[in-house]
Each structure stands twice: as structure tokens, then as C-alpha cells.
Amino acid sequence: MFDYLLPTTVAEACGYLAAHPQAQPLLGGTDLLVQLRNGKRQADCLVDLKAIPELAGITATDDGGVALGARVTLNEILASPLVAERYPVLTDALRRVAAYPVRNRATLAGNLVNASPAADSAPPLLVLDAAVELSGPAGSRTVPLAEFFLGPGRTALQPGEILTKVLIPGTFATWPGAYGRQARRRALDLAIVGVAVLGGPPRPGGPVSWRLAACAVAPTPVRLRAAEAELGAGLPDDARLLRAAALAAAEVHPLSDVRSSEEYRRAMVELHLRRTVQAVRQQLEG
């Protein structure tokens, strides 16, 4: 049994959440309603954030980046020409999340706040150096996404705080990128492994650097620093790429669970890192 509130301002929502620790913020509900039903989460009230005007919309920012309001659904992001042009690595990952009807409700903000180690939106946002804007009774603050995840289901959100915006800086806008994903089937399954690869900047003959991140291989989504260091600058040859992929498999800390063994996850990190870097390398060469 829970009540339902539909506030129209961030202050109203945060005020209620701060005063009622048993209340939960609601966006798409695609994770929350399932967790409430199977008892993984409790709530005496759901505070629906979808009527707050300032949480809507995808906007270009002054630094050439993009700001995504918390209400924005995954399908809205996938339909955005601005996001597709600036951050192909993000659209490549989001189109693999769940299935079309779920993406009509599920939000990017909700995927981050849920803090699943297998969150598909996290690796692309980590390689893009994204940050999240958090608002609470004490005001707003911006936290780098890399510092937002604390563990499975745990984030830097304080009581009464909500995630209001996802901010992607212009630094890596238009860099080629791709997302490699292993799952038991194409749709409607969590990732066994997800690997985001960003390479750029996209100038023929110019210097190239690489940024890599993965999900479902550690308690939180992680950057793959050892593999990045091995790829170094420029377009790696196949020998170097194989060494980098082996380092990625060694630097992650996967679990064995119902979807996969630890060994299989390491092997899939290696495979998808290799394939995904090859795909981005081809775009940079082309």
C-alpha cells in the first residue's frame, strides 16, 4: 500500500521526500514498481517527478554539450538528432536497453539512480565524463558520474535529494564511439557484459586517444584504465589491441551469478573490447 503525489516543483518534491524517509521518487517506474512488488524496496508514498516542468527536455549547453532532464525517456533520447550527432556512443548503448515499450517509460536518470552494476547507460556516460545535477533541501550540486556510484544500488544521493539533470560536456562531442554488449538474447535481458568505447577526436591523420568503460563486471560501472593505457595514443595495431583486451579482462572484478560465470564475463569483456575498438578504429580510419 502506498500513496501517490504529483508535485510540480523540485522544491516541493524534495521537501516532501526529506520529511518522509519512507517515500520514494518515481520516474518511469520500470525498475521501482517491480522492486516494490517483489519486496526489494518499500515505500509508503511515491512522489512522481513527471509533472515538474524543469525536469523535461534535452538542451544544448553553452560548452557544446547536452543537458538531459530527469524526466526524459530513453526513447526521447534515441529520437534526438542532437544526441545522435554529438554522442553516438550513448545512443548505441540506449537502443539495447530492455525493449521498445519499456524505453517509452524508462528514463536515463532512473537507470543511473537505480545503480545496477549492469546499467547500460553508465559506461557511455563514464567515457563522456558526464556529471549529474542533484537537488535537495540544501540546494543543488553537481557530481561527476564517476563519483556518483558507490556500490550495487547505492549512490551519492542524500536523503531528500533527487537527480535533476544529466550533464554531458562538449569535450567529446562528435567523437566516434560504440557499445558492445553480451546478453542471453537481444532484448529484454540485462547485460552479461557491456563495453563502451570512445575514440577521437575525429580528424583524419590527427592524434587519437581512447576512453573505455564497462558494466556488469564490478560492483559499479567502471573505466578500464589499464586497457586505455595500453591502447595509448593513435590507432592501435591488432597486436596492441589484443594486449589491451587481455588487460581489460584482467582488471575487472566480475561476479558469478545466474547470467554468467566470472570466467565467461572476463572472456566477454576481452571479446567485446576487441570488437568494439575495431569498429571505432574503422570509423576513425574511414
Partner: protein, 156 residues
């Protein structure tokens, strides 16, 4: 803990009082007797409960009835309001796209929304549109043929 909501269901305007925690799926099936909406997994994995929300497919098990306030819902019953079958329903029958029939309402609604937004979809687009609807009999090939048939026979 009851909320009064006003919504349009299959073209007819309803103002009703619902418990705040009632799922849209339970509201449609049990309160409005629209049993064409099927309950499968209850957690967004199977697509049998898909309905159209302002024309776009959503899983009714992953929504509260109160979230539909002010919106328009279409269930499979709304595809044939006058008792005359929708072209997609005719095509599903013609191509034997129905076996046990449990996935059919969700399949039809996902396909209806697809043809609304993309009248001449590629095979890839059809597969993506149906990726949230599981069929266990399985009639995927015939379902694809039925949708292809309706899309190809359109003149616009």
C-alpha cells in the same frame, strides 16, 4: 489513498476513483473488464500487457493507473470498436500469426503503433518494434509476414 482520474479508454471518457497503488494492468482488466490486456510476467519482460498510451506502446504492468490521468489508452478491444476487425487482425488470421493467442493483443498493439510512426518499416524496424513482445508457440515468422503484408498493401 484513492485518487480520482479522468482518462480516455478506447475512445470513451472515464472518470473513476482508483487506489493510488493500483497498476494500470489491474485497473484495465479488473475494473474496466478489458481482459484483452493479458497478464504475463508482471515485470515488463514479456509484453503481453502492452497497451497504447497516447498512441505509443507501454507495459501496463509497469505503470500505475493514476499515471494515466489525462491520457488516452487503447487496448486490443479498441482496435475493432465496431466489431469489424482491424487490417492487422485480418492479416494475423490470414498468415496464421495466432497460435495460442496469449501474446496476440500485445503484438497487435506494438504493430499498430509501428505502422503509425513508420508506415513502410524495414524488417529490422519490425523486429525492433516487436522485441518487447514474447511469443512462446512460436509464430514470429507468421507475425512478421502479417505485418509485412499490411505495410506492403498500403498505398500511402
Amino acid at each position: 489513498m484513492h485518487k480520482t482520474i479522468t482518462l480516455k479508454v478506447n475512445g470513451s471518457l472515464e472518470t473513476v476513483s482508483v487506489p493510488a497503488d493500483r497498476r494500470l494492468l489491474a485497473f484495465l482488466r479488473e475494473d474496466l473488464q478489458l481482459t484483452g490486456v493479458k497478464r504475463g510476467c508482471g515485470e515488463g519482460e514479456c509484453g503481453t500487457c502492452v497497451v497504447l498510451l497516447d498512441g505509443e506502446p507501454v507495459n501496463s504492468c509497469l505503470m500505475l493507473a493514476v499515471e494515466a490521468d489525462g491520457r488516452e489508452i487503447t487496448t486490443v478491444e479498441g482496435l475493432a470498436p465496431s466489431g469489424r476487425l482491424h487490417p492487422l487482425q485480418e492479416a494475423f488470421i490470414r498468415h496464421h500469426g495466432v497460435q495460442c493467442g496469449f501474446c496476440t493483443p500485445g503484438m497487435l498493439l506494438s504493430a499498430t503503433a509501428l505502422l503509425q510512426r513508420s508506415p513502410h518499416p524495414s524488417d529490422e524496424e519490425i523486429l525492433t518494434a516487436l522485441e518487447g513482445n514474447l511469443c512462446r508457440c512460436t509464430g514470429y515468422t507468421q507475425i512478421l509476414a502479417a505485418i509485412r503484408d499490411v505495410a506492403d498493401s498500403r498505398t500511402t
